[in-house]
């Protein structure tokens, strides 16, 4: 983990070159924690998904470009059960938001509240971001680590109603990858040279509870996430083992309390199958977790 943090700090240092006046810094360790129990192959392991903003997140973007460093990934007490990677990344790119604001102003504050006034008429067609990303990824044991860099394209969409809720957010990337440590490759006699990497991921949250009649089910939702990658020119031994392609899918049924029950913000159960390289394990897993919310801290400058 120390190495993970060092690389995060390097990324942050690079981003410091950005004009300070346009940048914002998150100085706090995020208090969102997701303790959970994970089971795979009849083995149970407690885990924790903290938000790994351990040092600081320095971010800034104008209307047309952005620069950011991020870190994330679940930590398991039994690292052998981990099917997802830990990563730290920095990105630089351009973005375009296709949101169409409503030209119709809100009604005056004194207007009658019943019946509710019509919607103001904004239209959201999502947001596209494209750019370069430098990423360090590792297994939790640090036995397999890659440094990747390349082009990425992200379409972000969070539809509010109807079919728009079913439109996924999509992220695709074409990268070059350089193994820093490759114990798994060595174990199967594969080459440890650099390779080409194509990645794709998508997620959608369709608003399941809204489609079910009882009101108390409104906070229920389903989150679906898929992640796939293909590694090119990685040598026949690696391909023979079927490790040059990886697919990961997860479906999470979650119940997000409108008002926290104590510190518990959310209950969820997740099924997943496959792996996110460089993780090697690809067992189906079930995760039973809660999201714990601690009091918010204000990291706004001047606050």
């Amino acid at each position: 983990m120390i190495r993970l943090h060092c690389i995060l700090l390097v990324c942050l240092g690079l981003l410091r070159a950005e004009p300070a006046a346009r940048a914002q810094t998150v100085t706090s360790f995020d208090a969102d924690l997701a303790p959970h129990l994970l089971t795979a192959d009849r083995t149970w392991a407690p885990g924790l998904t903290p938000d790994l903003r351990l040092a600081a997140e320095h971010a800034g973007f104008s209307t047309s470009w952005f620069a950011r460093a991020e870190a994330g990934g679940p930590l398991l007490l039994d690292a052998d059960l981990a099917t997802e990677a830990l990563s730290v990344s920095g990105a630089l790119g351009i973005a375009r938001n296709f949101f169409r604001p409503s030209p119709t102003p809100p009604p005056p504050p004194g207007a009658p509240t019943a019946p509710p006034p019509p919607r103001t008429g904004a239209r959201d067609f999502g947001r596209v971001a494209a750019g370069l990303r430098l990423r360090y990824e590792t297994t939790q044991t640090f036995e397999d680590q890659n440094l990747t860099g390349g082009l990425q394209l992200t379409y972000s969409m969070r539809g509010q109603s109807g079919w728009a809720r079913l439109i996924p957010s999509v992220h695709v990337a074409a990268e070059g990858a350089l193994p820093i440590r490759a114990d798994a490759r060595k174990a199967v006699g594969a080459e440890t040279n650099g390779f080409v990497l194509l990645r794709g991921m998508a997620s959608v949250t369709p608003g399941l509870g809204a489609a079910l009649p009882p009101d108390w089910l409104d906070p229920l939702d389903l989150h679906v996430y898929v992640d796939g990658r293909w590694e090119g020119a990685t040598g026949s031994a690696w391909r023979t083992e079927g490790l040059d392609t990886a697919f990961y899918a997860a479906a999470t049924l979650l119940y997000a309390f409108r008002d926290a029950v104590g510190v518990v913000e959310q209950l969820y159960v997740r099924w997943s199958d496959g792996r996110v390289p460089p993780a090697i394990e690809a067992e189906p897993t079930w995760t039973f977790g809660v999201v714990v919310g601690l009091p918010a801290r204000d990291s706004r400058p001047g606050a």
């Binding site: 997701a34 991020e70 870190a71 990105a91 102003p105 207007a111 972000s156 997620s203 979650l254």
Partner: protein
Amino acid sequence: MPINVHTHVHNLAATFTDETLRTLLDRLLREGYPDVLVDRVRDLLASVLDRTETAPQPEVLLHRWLRDTVNAPSVQTYLDSLAPSERVQFEVLGSALTEEIGLRAVAQVVDRVRTSLRDGAQEDARTKDLLDLVGFLHIVLQPSIRHVTRRLMDQQPDDGMVVALTLDITEGGDADRARYEHQLRQTSEQIFDYPGRFLPFVCVNTRRADAFVLMERALVAQGYVGVKLYPSLGYTVDSQAMRRVLAYCHERDVPLLMHCSPGGFFRNPQTIHLSAPEHWRPLLEAFPGLKVCFAHFGGADNLVQDPLPSDSWTQTILDLMGEFDGVYTDISYNDAPMAGGEREAHYFTHLERLLDDPVRRDRILFGTDYFLIRMRLRESSFWAYFEDRLSAEAFERITDANPRRFLGLSARPDRLSWALDHHVRFVADNSERCAARPAPWLAQAIEDRFGDVTFTVSDLGPRWSRNNQAHWHLYWFLRDNEMRLDHRPPFEEAGSLRLRTLKYWTKEHDPASLFAAHRRAFAERIDMQLTTWGATYEAEYDRAQARSALDVFLDDGQHRVVDLGALCDRLYLFQQEQAQRFPSPPPDAS
């Protein structure tokens, strides 16, 4: 229900002109602040008044001002002459305000200045220091009347009520009419944020051509419940125009409160005497029972002497109280005894005697003179100083029973004064705009007169108010774009929603890069929608900075919508606020 009968909520931009700024600076000099500091204050305030565009927020202005002031050679020379403790305090304050520490430190320092600690109240009353000056400037520089009011109300007892006095500093005729109308309108708006706790008085300056019309409109249709007079601004109380005002108030039992001390604002030294109480004897004879409060007890410098000077304004007020039932006085800005010693002993000997006097004890009122008193001490320290030195019965008398009588606030809702009756109607007619539930007396009065009037208010009070365009516009954006269609709560409930319940929130289940994309998109959408609806950026922000600030804030799902509203209030300047800070120029302005 403690009542403070003497406060001001007008900020610099809403009230002062270049010329009247001079009188404010004179007050600072009379308070004993050194020339070198007052010169720096003059530069600061003049720069704000001269601005034609948005001024930076008060903390930013103070930050820059203190940094430059500490480094100014003239101030350095002054610091050398200070007592070591005070010098250290100033230098520590200055050193905390470096660019490296930045605005967070400034906010904390300024917050500490304005935060009242009960234990420190005695020390605060005993001493006047540079922090008082910083605290005063922090209020004066507030961007709007709403901001000043919020600071005032935050320092009142929980159910406390204030009388807010407007101030009409005019050259006469139609000069500055738009500015004054703006002040009246914005002050009236504060009634909705604190219904039943905020009672404004309209200032009448007969130098203004249509002062009577403005007064009548304020009393009938804007929720004003009394009249403020300030003769030393350059008019006599015994004039035809003033007699018309007094006849109107007399007929309707409208209370008047008049500035009555040789200090305060004045047009020139010759006009100070126009505020003397001796001019009132013929008027009080002509209008028997007319309620007039001679503020400041004629100047506390008299009450710290023993015996009372027989030719003092204070003695004249006491004589008038003996002759006329409607004569009141208040102890606002009575800081003369606070240094302690004999002066303090004499002051309280006089005050206790008067509070035992059956003729006068029911007509002495409590007031602080917020925010001007902040030149000297904190609002809460002023309260604590008198509460600690008067018996509980006497303190209750001057803060509750006597102000109620003066205002016509009878215990029976069906016996409210004419002005309060109009005030009740004004609130009832605008119940949808109220940000808090009315105080019990007002709720009862509304129910008695109009039956069941609906107040759709938030438990968050003014922190989440329909009258705040940042809150109102943000709500409508969230309602139409970020809340699930099956759960779109009304405005009053939406402020309590946590951000993690909005649809952008996928932090626990998406990779960091995807959640960051959702979050950034959300930040951009807020910015795009609010600016489309006419918001501009506060002085220290541009589009990129505003979006970045939102992006960082949205990363914490524990924040509530009300917190996001507060952030939007900091980042954006809405049309209503633009009007508050920059009223239309008067018709005669060149």
